[in-house]
C-alpha cells in the first residue's frame, strides 16, 4: 500500500451536476443491495425455501391423500404447494430489517445520511429497491413452487390448475405478500434501528395480535381478527376465501395500510432523530 500523489484531482464536475436526486439515490441503494453477498444469499435462501418447502409438503401429502369426501373437499392443493411462503415471509421480512438496522449497526448510516442529508430519499430508495427486488425474485419462485407442487400432487389427481378460480390470484398474491412483508421488516428496522428489536417487532406484528384477541370476548375478537396485520395479509393467498378473514384484495390493502403507516412513522423519525 503506497501513497500516490497526495492531492485530489482537479474538479471533474460542477456542483450543479452533483445534485442528489431520488433516482440517483435509488441507483445507489441498488448498488448497496447487490454488492452485499449476505443479501444475495438471504434472497436465494428465501427462494429455496419457497420452492423446497412447498415441494416437500406436497410429497408428504401425496403419500397420504385425503381419505373421505369431506377431507377431499377441504383439500387445497394451491395452499399445500405454497406452504413455503409463510416461512419465506419471515426470511424476507428479516432481510428487510437487516437492510436498515444493519446500516445502524455498522455505522454506515452516518455515511449514507451525510451523502443524502435530506434523509428521506434514502428510506424511499431502500423501499423501492428492496420491494421490487423481492417481488421480482419471489414471483417466479412462487410460480415454480406452484408448478412443481402441482406436478407432484398430480400423481394422485390432487392438483389444481392456474386457470382454476382464485388460483392465479393466490399465486400472485403470495409473491406480493412476500414483498410487502419485506417492506414491513424494512419499516420496523428504520423505526427501531436495532436488528434484535426489529426482528422481535416483526414477529410481534405478524403473530402477536392474534394471540391477544384470544383473550377478548368472541364477539369482539371475531370483529377485530380480520383487520389484524397477519390475517389481513394472508387473505390474498387463499384460493377459497376464509369467511373469518377479509376478501382477498381488501385484506391485502389493509396489510399495505399497516406498512404505509409504519413507513410514514419511520420517515418522520428519520427526519427528526439524531444518528
Amino acid at each position: 500500500m503506497t501513497a500516490t500523489r497526495p492531492t485530489a484531482p482537479a474538479r471533474p464536475t460542477g456542483p450543479a451536476a452533483q445534485r442528489v436526486t431520488q433516482a440517483r439515490v435509488v441507483r445507489s441503494e441498488w448498488t448497496k443491495l447487490r454488492t452485499l453477498p449476505s443479501t444475495a444469499w438471504s434472497l436465494l435462501a428465501a427462494v429455496a425455501l419457497i420452492v423446497g418447502f412447498g415441494a416437500l409438503y406436497c410429497l408428504v401429502r401425496v403419500t397420504r391423500p385425503p381419505s373421505d369426501p369431506a377431507a377431499a373437499a377441504a383439500f387445497d392443493p394451491t395452499a399445500v404447494s405454497l406452504s413455503g411462503v409463510q416461512v419465506a415471509q419471515l426470511a424476507v421480512g428479516i432481510l428487510g430489517v437487516l437492510l436498515v438496522a444493519g446500516e445502524y449497526a455498522t455505522g454506515t448510516i452516518r455515511v449514507s445520511l451525510t451523502a443524502v442529508p435530506r434523509r428521506l430519499p434514502v428510506l424511499w430508495g431502500k423501499a423501492v429497491v428492496f420491494g421490487l427486488t423481492a417481488l421480482v425474485l419471489c414471483l417466479p419462485a412462487v410460480l415454480a413452487a406452484f408448478l412443481v407442487g402441482q406436478s407432484i400432487l398430480s400423481a394422485e389427481q390432487l392438483d389444481s390448475r392456474l386457470s382454476d378460480p382464485g388460483v392465479a390470484r393466490a399465486v400472485l398474491g403470495s409473491a406480493l405478500l412476500l414483498s410487502a412483508g419485506g417492506l414491513l421488516g424494512l419499516a420496523l428496522g428504520a423505526l427501531l434501528r436495532s436488528t434484535a428489536w426489529a426482528v422481535a417487532g416483526l414477529f410481534g406484528v405478524l403473530f402477536g395480535p392474534q394471540l391477544l384477541t384470544g383473550l377478548l370476548p368472541a364477539t369482539w375478537s371475531d370483529r377485530i381478527y380480520p383487520y389484524l396485520p397477519g390475517p389481513a395479509g394472508v387473505a390474498v393467498t387463499a384460493v377459497r376465501p376464509d369467511p373469518a378473514t377479509l376478501a382477498p384484495w381488501n385484506g391485502f390493502a389493509v396489510f399495505c395500510l399497516y406498512i404505509a403507516v409504519g413507513l410514514a412513522v419511520a420517515a418522520w423519525q428519520l427526519r427528526r432523530r439524531d444518528v
Partner: protein
C-alpha cells in the same frame, strides 16, 4: 467555510457542546483540538446535520448542510473509519456513495488511487486494517471534490508514512482554497499541520487562535542553569526580580530572561556557570495545561495563553 454560532448540544443532563461560536476559514488547515470527550465529534456531527443542535446553528459554505442540493460537493467528511459495511468491498462502498449525486465511476477509481488503496479496493472492507479504513474514509471524503473537508482524527491507526501523507494532503487541500477542518487530541500532530487552532474542553471554546500565536503565548521559555555557587546565583537573580525556582537535580529554572542575559549577569558577578540551557515547554504540555482547567474558562477567549 464553517460558521458555528452558539452551537449547543445536550444529551440528557450532560452538556456535550456548550455555546460554541467559531469560524473555520477556507485556504488553511484548521485544527480542532480537545481532550477525548471534549465534544469534537458531536460538533462535527452537528456540522454535517447528523445531530440536531439543542440550540444555536452551524452553516457550511453559508447554509445549513442539510439544505445543500449537492452535499458531497460542499463537504466531504470522515467521521469514523469503521462506518463501512464489513461485507462490502471498498470500491462498491465508494460507488454507492458516488451514485447518490451522480459522481462518475472514473472518479471512484481516481480517489482510490489518490489515497493509495489501489488493489485493496476490491477486497471486503471488513478485512481492512484501521489504517486502510482511514484511507477509505478519506477517499469517501474526497469523492465529491468538496469545498470543505471535515476529518475526525484522521491520523488514528496510520503508520508513519501514512501520517506524513495525511499532513501533505491536508496542506495541499488547503492550498487549493478549500476549508480543511481536522480534529485531533494530539497537539504535536496539529503543530505540524494546522495554521489555525480551535481548542475546546468540556464542550466549551478555550482558544481560537493562529498556530504561531499559540506557540508564542502558550509555551513560556525557561533557562536551566547550574553553577558552582547556586545560592549566590539565586540571590543575584532574585535581587533583580527574576522568577527563579530550584530543580531537584541541583539546577535553577529561570524564567523571563534569555540565556545571554543570565550568562552576562553571572559573568559580571564572577559566578562560574556549569550549564546554561534554553528550555521550551512542549506544546503538548501547554495544551494539556490549557484544557485541564477547561471548566474554569467561562468566556471564549481569543488568545491561547495560559499562565
Amino acid at each position: 467555510m464553517i460558521e458555528a454560532r452558539g452551537l449547543t448540544k445536550r444529551y440528557g443532563d450532560k452538556l456535550a457542546v456548550d455555546g460554541l461560536t467559531f469560524t473555520v476559514q477556507p485556504g488553511m488547515v484548521t485544527g480542532f483540538l480537545g481532550p477525548n470527550g471534549a465534544g469534537k465529534s458531536t460538533t462535527m456531527r452537528m456540522i454535517l446535520g447528523l445531530d440536531a443542535p439543542t440550540s444555536g446553528s452551524v452553516t457550511v459554505n453559508g447554509r445549513p448542510y442539510r439544505e445543500h442540493a449537492a452535499p458531497l460537493h460542499e463537504a466531504g467528511a470522515l467521521l469514523d473509519a469503521r462506518s463501512v459495511h464489513p461485507g462490502r468491498s471498498a470500491y462498491h462502498h465508494l460507488l454507492a456513495l458516488a451514485q447518490t449525486c451522480g459522481v462518475r465511476r472514473s472518479r471512484v477509481d481516481e480517489v482510490v488511487e489518490a489515497v493509495g488503496l489501489g488493489g485493496a479496493a476490491r477486497r471486503r472492507a471488513g478485512a481492512f486494517s484501521l489504517g486502510m479504513g482511514q484511507r477509505l474514509g478519506i477517499a469517501a471524503a474526497l469523492l465529491g471534490d468538496p469545498r470543505t473537508v471535515i476529518l475526525d482524527e484522521p491520523v488514528n491507526g496510520l503508520d508513519t508514512e501514512g501520517i506524513r501523507w495525511i499532513r501533505s494532503l491536508l496542506r495541499e487541500l488547503a492550498a487549493e482554497g478549500r476549508t480543511v477542518f481536522v480534529s485531533s487530541h494530539l497537539m504535536s500532530e496539529m503543530a505540524l499541520t494546522a495554521q489555525h487552532l480551535i481548542i475546546i474542553g468540556k464542550g466549551r471554546l478555550i482558544a481560537d487562535t493562529g498556530m504561531d500565536e499559540f506557540i508564542a503565548g502558550a509555551a513560556p521559555s525557561l533557562v536551566r542553569v547550574r553553577s558552582t555557587d547556586l545560592a549566590a546565583l539565586e540571590t543575584l537573580l532574585r535581587s533583580r526580580d527574576v522568577a527563579v525556582s530550584g530543580a531537584d537535580d541541583g539546577a535553577l529554572a529561570v524564567s523571563g530572561l534569555s540565556t545571554d542575559q543570565v550568562g552576562r549577569l553571572a559573568g559580571a558577578a564572577g559566578i562560574t556557570l556549569l550549564e546554561l540551557t534554553a528550555q521550551q515547554a512542549s506544546l503538548e504540555e501547554a495544551f494539556i495545561e490549557l484544557t485541564r482547567d477547561a471548566v474554569e474558562f467561562r468566556a471564549p477567549t481569543t488568545r491561547g495563553a495560559s499562565s
